[in-house]
């Protein structure tokens, strides 16, 4: 109980000292206040009575600290009254036990960030240079592209970790630059990660593009060439990504160069387009998607007694 009161007293006193030094440049105040709490705890543990009695008021302590350190005067600029409440709120948060726990824990996550930032950077660069490329959380090791990506990521991680482990403190300007760089990586990674979610299986390969054209059969019906197939389930629901094969087990692929439409094929995990998934995703040359046709579904016999037995109308109403 006594130690709890003490911890609270230390936190309050430390917050007041920090507040008094709030107009110092952060690099200076960081150095000055680094182990303030540790020191206060030692004083509190040894001395009788309140901290302020032994050390004087926190403002005076702060001033003494600043003078001895030889930092720029804190006397000149007082915090604007408008910001004083904000400052007080921030001090209250930073003095709280959970904040200090989180704060103490964060440095342990540094190595994880060193690895992550290298990964994110390579990911972002990949997206930037090939927007249509099917980006995946882990590059496909069976494609030359994926192998290249893995190698580059490995190198980037090694460099990133070496940069992070360097324990020589950076000069002021460089430090700011490094922080800005880290934030930038985190920011540009957001769109890269977002695009990863949407194009997991549907990064499209354009048939008319520079890649090799999809070779397919020309299917004819008495009404003309078949350009797409729209499968429906028995109860009339349109199906998507239905894989069709012919009598010999070969993928049934339609010639994609028919008419004034272009076809987008989904890309499989092996990087190859899947050409027999129906209905095909087709677009007019204007870019508008080709609308599905209206179909007349056949009336099935209402049998299927095993699946859903119709409730008997003869049930007693009582």
């Amino acid at each position: 109980m006594a130690s709890n009161d003490q911890a609270e007293e230390v936190a309050t006193y430390a917050a007041a000292v920090r507040a008094a030094l709030s107009n110092l440049p952060t690099d200076q105040s960081e150095v000055l206040l680094e182990d303030l709490e540790d020191h206060l705890r030692e004083v509190a543990a040894e001395a009788e009575g309140p901290l302020a009695e032994r050390l004087g008021p926190p403002e005076q302590y702060a001033e003494e600290l600043r003078t001895a350190y030889g930092a720029a005067s804190a006397g000149g600029k007082r915090a604007e009254p408008a910001f004083r409440d904000l400052r007080r709120a921030i001090d209250w948060v930073t003095a709280s036990a959970w904040y200090r726990q989180v704060r103490a824990f964060l440095p342990e996550l540094r190595p994880a960030w060193w690895v992550l930032r290298a990964y994110l950077l390579v990911l972002a660069i990949t997206v930037a240079f090939s927007p249509s490329y099917n980006i995946r959380p882990i590059p496909n090791p069976f494609s030359s592209r994926g192998v290249l990506e893995i190698i580059v990521m490995g190198i980037a991680i090694v460099i990133s970790v070496r940069l992070g482990r360097r324990n020589r403190p950076l000069a002021k300007g460089r430090r700011a630059l490094a922080i800005a760089g880290n934030i930038l990586i985190a920011l540009i990674a957001v769109p890269a990660l977002a695009s990863m979610g949407t194009s997991g299986t549907f990064a499209m390969v354009e048939s008319g593009g520079s890649g090799q054209p999809i070779q397919g059969q020309q299917l004819y019906t008495p009404n003309g060439a078949v350009t797409n197939i729209y499968p429906y389930s028995r109860d009339g629901k349109p199906l998507t990504d239905v894989l069709l094969y012919d009598q010999d087990g070969r993928p049934l692929t339609l010639d994609s160069k028919t008419g004034d439409v272009t076809t987008d094929y989904p890309v499989g995990a092996d990087g190859q387009p899947i050409t027999n998934a129906y209905p095909l995703h087709q677009r007019h040359l204007s870019g508008d998607p080709v609308a599905a046709p209206r179909v007349a579904l056949p009336p099935w016999h209402a049998q299927s007694p095993t699946v859903s037995p119709t409730p008997s109308p003869t049930t007693s109403p009582r």
């Binding site: 702060a62 003494e64 001895a68």
Partner: protein, 121 residues
């Protein structure tokens, strides 16, 4: 802030300020130490007016100036302690400051003795 200017009497903390660097270097010259311990040892040696914060600020400044090395020692009970010790630069600074202090104090003692002798006769 600097209201001392108006006072005729010399504030002991003001006097101490000029030599605090030397005092801290001297303490660390005996043995590596952490902030609170430095304060304690200074007080044990009779520097009662030394403030905790002044010692801390001085330690930080000397460290930033490259006169000290620093390492963290985990303690069984209580917080980890940041120890400071003299490096070559710090030792050199201690030697030079000590010489300066000796000559300065000699001169000052001489002045004060002369005054008290003069008045005493």
């Amino acid at each position: 802030m600097a209201s001392y200017m108006n006072q005729a009497e010399v504030d002991p903390t003001q006097l101490l300020k000029g030599v605090l660097d030397l005092a801290v270097l001297a303490v660390l010259g005996e043995a590596d130490s952490y902030g609170y311990d430095v304060v304690r040892r200074l007080r044990e040696n009779g520097l009662d007016h030394v403030g905790d914060a002044s010692v801390y600020g001085t330690l930080r400044r000397l460290y930033q100036a490259g006169a000290l090395n620093s390492y963290v020692v985990p303690s069984e009970e209580g917080p980890h302690r940041k120890y400071y010790g003299l490096n070559n630069r710090g030792r050199k600074a201690l030697d030079q400051s000590a010489q300066t202090w000796v000559s300065l104090s000699k001169a000052l003692n001489h002045l004060l003795n002369g005054r008290s002798n003069g008045h005493g006769k």
